[in-house]
């Protein structure tokens, strides 16, 4: 199978090389070839140590880690829909509804993002860079299911051009590109990214589902309910008014952005990322630790509001906290790179996310802003960690 594919690719190659029929599409061809086969070209001079997996293989690992969250998200979209309209249907009906609801966003995000990457690679004569494989997968997971597709397209285009290509493409960006997409949507079209009508699709999807919602319906997320609560004690409910607790947040059958609800699915991805060494356990762990600590402090000494009284363990499982900690904070390009820096970077993300959630009623969810803010500081953290190391070693050398 793989031999046949190799021969097929080799047969096509002359057409895309200099002087061939499709010379203009060289970078596209090159992108696909290196996607299918690890390139066998080696460095020409000096001694280089190559890792066995290159960045395309790394990216695919992240995509595979995201699959549980996507599949669960699809099921949950269907589950919430049929719960909202009060119909009993089977597992596959719910999944099919969610699949059809989420798939267009996935397609739009990939087509727009990869399209821009291909065009820019062609203009600048680069190879096609693989960074968008992950970004394109993340975008559908961090937006509400009812986000209009043209908005996703505009935001993706904005993020790929202004957060990535102007900085020099994959590996050079300061901000996490998927989060910039979400931030753009959040500030440009706030009514479609927050509130209590966007998290559950109550209309039909390609003719499936649809109906009038049940009387007790309310589409607010848990964090949304907390932020608008007039009293400091709030009874959390799902969309039909049943009470919710820690384990509901852990399992994830609650309204929210497509991929963020289930901590179980996210943890499955986390295990894969940690096992393969793609993500740093230090960053991941310290986000949770920093968030838990600040939330605990708010629980003990905070102001008399619902958000401050929200138990610290609930802060970690509701909203986008777990998703951000596992898939966004650990992004190797935008996070801190020194080992000590990872601890500081992660802890500050967790702390900032909870501080924004609790102290700013305008933003029920603080994870996106916390990660983007710390993206800016990651190089600074690294700088001081390196400087401290130099100082320490100079001192040690001077003492001899």
């Amino acid at each position: 199978m793989s031999n046949k594919l190799r021969k097929f690719v080799d047969k096509l190659k002359p057409h895309f090389s200099k002087g061939g029929k499709f010379e203009k599409l060289h970078s596209v061809f090159d992108g696909f070839e290196t996607f299918l086969f690890v390139p066998n070209t080696t460095s020409k001079n000096g001694t280089h140590i190559h890792d066995a997996i290159d960045s395309k293989r790394t990216m695919i690992m992240v995509v595979m880690a995201l699959v549980p969250a996507l599949l669960f998200g699809m099921f949950n979209v269907g589950y919430q829909h049929y719960l909202a309209i009060g119909q009993e249907v089977g597992f596959w009906d719910k999944f099919l509804f969610g699949l059809l609801a989420v798939l267009p966003t996935v397609v739009v995000s990939y087509v727009v993002g990869l399209g821009i990457e291909f065009i820019i690679a062609q203009i600048k004569g680069h190879e096609i860079q693989e960074g968008f494989l992950v970004t394109g997968f993340l975008i559908p997971l961090i937006v509400p299911v009812d986000t209009p597709l043209w908005m996703v397209a505009v935001a993706t285009a904005f993020a790929v051009i202004f957060a990535k290509e102007v900085f020099g493409g994959t590996g050079m960006n300061i901000f996490n590109v998927a989060l910039v997409t979400r931030a753009f949507l959040f500030f440009a079209y706030p009514t479609f990214m927050s509130g209590d009508t966007v998290w559950v699709r109550v209309g039909t999807t390609f003719g499936l589902g649809g109906g009038s919602v049940v009387d007790s319906y309310s589409g607010a997320t848990v964090l949304g309910q907390i932020s608008v609560s007039p009293t400091s004690q709030v009874a959390l409910t799902d969309i039909t008014g049943n009470p919710l607790g820690f384990w509901d947040g852990f399992v994830g059958l609650i309204p929210g952005s497509v991929g963020e609800t289930s901590v179980i699915a996210i943890l499955l991805g986390a295990v894969l990322l940690l096992f393969t060494g793609v993500a740093s356990w230090k960053t991941m762990f310290s986000v949770f630790a920093g968030g838990a600590l600040i939330a605990l402090l708010f629980n003990l000494f905070g102001p008399d509001t619902a958000a401050a009284h929200f138990p610290w363990y609930n802060h970690l499982v509701f909203g986008g906290f777990a998703f951000g900690a596992v898939f966004m904070a650990t992004d190797p390009v935008t996070s801190a790179r020194t080992e000590t820096g990872k601890w500081i970077y992660g802890a500050l993300i967790g702390a900032m996310a909870i501080i924004i959630r609790v102290l700013n009623p305008g933003y029920p969810e603080g994870m996106m802003l916390a990660i983007l803010l710390m993206n800016i500081f990651a190089p600074l953290i690294d700088y001081y960690v390196v400087e401290a190391n130099i100082k320490r070693r100079l001192k040690r050398a001077g003492n001899k």
């Binding site: 102007v166 500030f187 440009a188 479609f192």
Partner: protein, 210 residues
């Protein structure tokens, strides 16, 4: 003084419009460019106000340039600029009250606009009144056109209108189009200015830093 508009004068006027633009090349006056460009009308008025003030303060300082003691020149420049700003501000309040309300403190803050002090120090203190006047006009227009371009895109995509007239048809809103809220926020002005700088430098290779 053979010709009224010599080649040098022409260069003085045209330079700031493009290759020596106060905003895109010298990166001065950014603060007000972010603040007043959410709508076209205040942006245009702001651009014209700055043009008038920088042109006439250039002339006045140029006339006084040989009599101003060097050690107190900044104070003298400030007095001249402040007087002109007050006149413009009062005229706006009298004849264009709505716009002056929209511009709020930013007319008064023209006093601190770096373009003014920059031109007075760099040009008016060492050149004759006529050239100084042309230089002021050039820099004012250089500032104004950037403001107008930024405001054009911000008002069109942020509010769907131009000069307050609805441009985006109701049918598009019915079809699901929504105004872009980010365009109304100052960060987008910064990104638009960056885009203008991008295009500008791509077309003028000599401006690119190595």
């Amino acid at each position: 003084m053979s010709k009224l508009i010599s080649d040098k004068t022409k260069a003085v006027f045209l330079g700031p419009l493009s290759k020596n633009n106060p905003i895109t090349v010298q990166v001065l006056g950014i603060c007000s460019a972010l603040a007043v460009t959410a709508k076209l009308e205040p942006a245009l008025v702001m651009g014209l106000s700055v043009t008038i003030i920088v042109a006439f303060s250039n002339v006045i300082i140029s006339l006084l340039r040989n009599t101003i003691p060097n050690r107190i020149r900044i104070i003298v420049q400030l007095v001249v600029v402040a007087a002109l700003v007050t006149i413009v501000s009062e005229i706006l309040k009298a004849f264009a009250y709505d716009v002056s309300v929209q511009l709020s403190v930013y007319i008064g803050l023209i006093i601190t606009n770096c373009i003014l002090m920059g031109r007075l120090e760099a040009f008016a203190m060492g050149n004759k009144p006529w050239e100084s006047f042309i230089d002021g006009l050039g820099n004012g227009f250089g500032y104004a056109w950037i403001l107008v371009v930024v405001a054009f895109f911000r008002e069109l995509f942020g509010s769907g209108s131009l000069f307050g007239f609805q441009i985006v048809p109701q049918a598009m809103y019915d079809a699901g189009y929504v105004n872009n809220g980010l365009m109304i926020l100052p960060p987008m002005a910064l990104i638009l200015v960056a885009c203008i700088i991008w295009v500008h430098r791509a077309r003028n290779k000599e401006l690119q830093e190595k």
